[in-house]
C-alpha cells in the first residue's frame, strides 16, 4: 500500500513543476499548454446508470456538498428523534447541536443553489441500528470523517473564491464534529490514525468518486448521485 507520505512527496514535486511554469509564465510559453490542459476535468467520474447528476463546475460542487449535508442532516434527525436507550443528556445535547448544524448546512446549500439544486434525496439507513450507541456513533464518525475528506478533496476544483470560503467555513465545523464523535467513542480518539496521517499530521482527503461510492450506499437506489468532476 502506498503511504500518505509518498503521496504527499509526489504531490509536492508535482506542485513544484507547476509553480515553475506559472512563475515563468511571462517568459516561457512552452510549459503553459501543459499547465492549462491539466487545470480541468482531470478525473472524470462516469455517472452510474440512473443516478442523479450533480452538475458541472461550481454548481456541481455545491450540489455535491448539498447531497452530503442532506445525508448528514437526515441521519442526525433520526438519531435525535429516536435516541438510543440510556443516552446521557449531555450527549443528546451535543448530537442535537450537530443535527441543527447539519440542517442549516443543508438549508444553506438549498437556498444558495436555488433552481440549480438537486432534488431532496431519500436516505437508506437500513444498516444503522439507531437503538445502539455503538452503531450510531460509529456511523456518525463515518459521516463526519467522510464530510471532512470530501470538502478538503474537492476544494481545489472550486473556481469562485466566495464558494471556497464557504467550503472552508463548513469543513472546520465538520472536523469539530468528527473529533467530538471520535472522543465520544473513545476518549482521546480525535485524530485517529484512519483519518490523520501520523507521519505528517495531515487529515486525509478524498475525491468525489471515492466519497460518493460510500455516500451512495446510504441513499435509496432511486436517489443516488453521480459527479462528473
Amino acid at each position: 500500500m502506498k503511504t500518505e507520505t509518498e503521496l504527499n512527496k509526489n504531490n509536492v514535486n508535482m506542485a513544484r513543476r507547476s509553480f515553475l511554469r506559472y512563475a515563468g509564465a511571462g517568459v516561457a510559453g512552452v510549459g503553459l499548454m501543459a499547465a492549462a490542459s491539466s487545470c480541468h476535468k482531470d478525473h472524470p467520474v462516469q455517472p452510474s446508470t440512473g443516478a442523479i447528476p450533480l452538475g458541472t463546475g461550481d454548481t456541481g460542487i455545491l450540489n455535491y456538498a448539498y447531497a452530503l449535508e442532506q445525508l448528514e442532516a437526515a441521519f442526525y434527525t433520526q438519531v435525535v428523534l429516536t435516541p438510543y436507550s440510556g443516552i446521557p443528556s449531555a450527549e443528546l445535547s451535543l448530537l442535537t447541536d450537530i443535527r441543527d448544524h447539519e440542517v442549516l448546512h443543508r438549508e444553506f446549500f438549498k437556498a444558495a443553489l436555488k433552481t440549480s439544486a438537486i432534488q431532496a434525496l431519500t436516505p437508506n439507513f437500513s444498516k444503522i441500528d439507531f437503538t445502539s450507541r455503538a452503531s450510531v456513533l460509529t456511523y456518525a464518525k463515518a459521516f463526519e470523517d467522510l464530510g471532512v475528506t470530501a470538502y478538503d478533496g474537492v476544494a481545489y476544483k472550486i473556481q469562485n473564491v466566495a464558494y471556497l470560503a464557504i467550503a472552508g467555513s463548513i469543513v472546520s465545523v465538520e472536523a469539530r464534529h468528527a473529533a467530538l464523535i471520535g472522543n465520544l467513542l473513545q476518549s482521546g480518539n480525535f485524530v485517529s490514525s484512519d483519518q490523520v496521517t501520523a507521519s505528517n499530521g495531515l487529515n486525509i482527503s478524498n475525491d468525489p468518486k471515492t466519497v460518493l461510492a460510500t455516500a451512495n450506499t446510504f441513499l435509496s437506489a432511486k436517489t443516488q448521485v453521480s459527479a462528473s468532476f
Binding site: 509536492v12 511571462g26 487545470c39 434527525t77 448544524h101 480525535f190
Partner: protein, 283 residues
C-alpha cells in the same frame, strides 16, 4: 515577447480562455488597447495578472508567503505543547495533549519540507523563544492546567481561523490548497478536543464556537475577545450573502438561532489580524 501568440497557444488547449479572463466575448479587444499602453518591461506582470484571473493561480512567492505564515504559527504551537508536555506534573491528559504536540511538530516538519522543495527559505522558530504568558495575561499558563488548556483552546481556534483566511490565496492549487486545508481540519479537530476536554472538567463550553449576537467569544475569557472577533467575527451570520438566521431549522420554518448559525460556520481571520494576535506570544 508576443502576448497574443501566447494567448492563441492557450486557446488551442483551452477554448474558454478568453471567457475566463473576461466575462465578455469581445474582452480580448480591450487587451489590445491595454497592451499598447503598457511598457514592454511591465508585460510579464500584466501577463501574470491575466493568468491569475483566468486560472486563479497564485505566484510562487504568494504561496511561499502563505506557507511561511502557516509555519510561523506552527512553530508557536509546537513550542507551546513541547513546553507544556515538558513541564513535570502539568498535563494530566496525555492522551489528548500528546497527539496534538506530535501533530504540531509534524506540521512544522511538513511545511518546512514543502517550502524547501519550492526553493524558498522556511522561517525558523523565533530565536528568542516565546512568551506564553502573553506579556503577563496568562501568568500561570505552565503551572495551572486549566489555564494551559484555556490558552491551548484559543491557540487552536485561532489557528483554524488563520488557515481559513489563507485559502483564497491558494485557490485552484491542488497540492498546496489541499495540504493547507488538511492541516486546517486537524487544527479544528484539536480545537474541538481541547474544548471537549475542558467541558469534562466543568467548563461550560461546546466543541464548536457558539456566539451570541453581541459576543463572538464563547470561552468566558475576555482577554481573548479579539481571537474570536476581527473583520469577519465568529458571530457573523452572512454566508455567501445569505443571512443564515433566516433559513429554516427544526424549530422554525423561517429562522435559525444565532447559536446554531454561528456554530455551524467558522469564520476566517486575515493575515494581519492573526499577526497582531500572536505578537504578545513572540519574545
Amino acid at each position: 515577447m508576443n502576448l497574443f501568440g501566447i494567448i492563441e497557444e492557450i486557446e488551442k488547449v483551452d477554448p474558454e480562455f478568453k471567457e475566463k479572463i473576461s466575462p465578455r466575448r469581445d474582452a480580448i479587444k480591450n487587451m489590445t488597447s491595454f497592451g499598447s499602453k503598457v511598457a514592454i518591461a511591465a508585460l510579464p506582470f500584466a501577463i501574470g495578472s491575466i493568468f491569475k484571473k483566468a486560472y486563479g493561480v497564485a505566484s510562487t512567492s504568494d504561496i511561499v508567503g502563505v506557507l511561511n505564515f502557516a509555519l510561523t504559527l506552527e512553530h508557536l504551537e509546537a513550542a507551546f505543547y513541547n513546553q507544556g508536555m515538558g513541564t513535570s506534573g502539568l498535563v494530566t491528559d496525555a492522551s489528548y495533549i500528546s497527539p496534538i504536540k506530535d501533530d504540531e511538530n509534524n506540521h512544522v516538519t511538513f511545511l518546512t519540507g514543502v517550502i524547501t522543495s519550492l526553493g524558498a527559505t522556511p522561517v525558523a522558530a523565533n530565536a528568542n523563544g516565546y512568551d506564553f504568558t502573553a506579556g503577563g495575561t496568562f501568568p500561570t499558563v505552565f503551572s495551572d492546567y486549566g489555564t494551559f488548556l484555556a490558552v491551548a483552546e484559543t491557540l487552536e481556534d485561532t489557528g483554524v481561523r488563520a488557515y481559513k483566511g489563507q485559502a483564497g490565496t491558494l485557490i485552484g492549487n491542488q497540492t498546496v490548497l489541499t495540504a493547507a486545508l488538511s492541516i486546517h481540519a486537524v487544527e479544528a479537530r484539536h480545537a474541538s478536543a481541547i474544548r471537549y476536554l475542558r467541558s469534562t472538567k466543568g467548563v461550560a463550553i461546546k466543541p464548536w464556537i457558539v456566539s451570541t449576537a453581541t459576543n463572538s467569544n464563547d470561552t468566558g475569557i475576555s482577554a481573548v475577545d479579539a481571537n474570536y472577533g476581527g473583520s469577519t467575527p465568529e458571530n457573523s451570520v452572512s454566508v455567501g450573502g445569505v443571512d443564515v438566521t433566516t433559513l429554516p431549522s427544526i424549530q422554525s420554518s423561517s429562522s435559525t438561532s444565532i447559536a446554531v448559525a454561528s456554530a455551524a460556520f467558522d469564520e476566517p481571520l486575515t493575515t494581519n489580524e492573526v499577526l497582531a494576535l500572536v505578537k504578545p506570544f513572540i519574545k
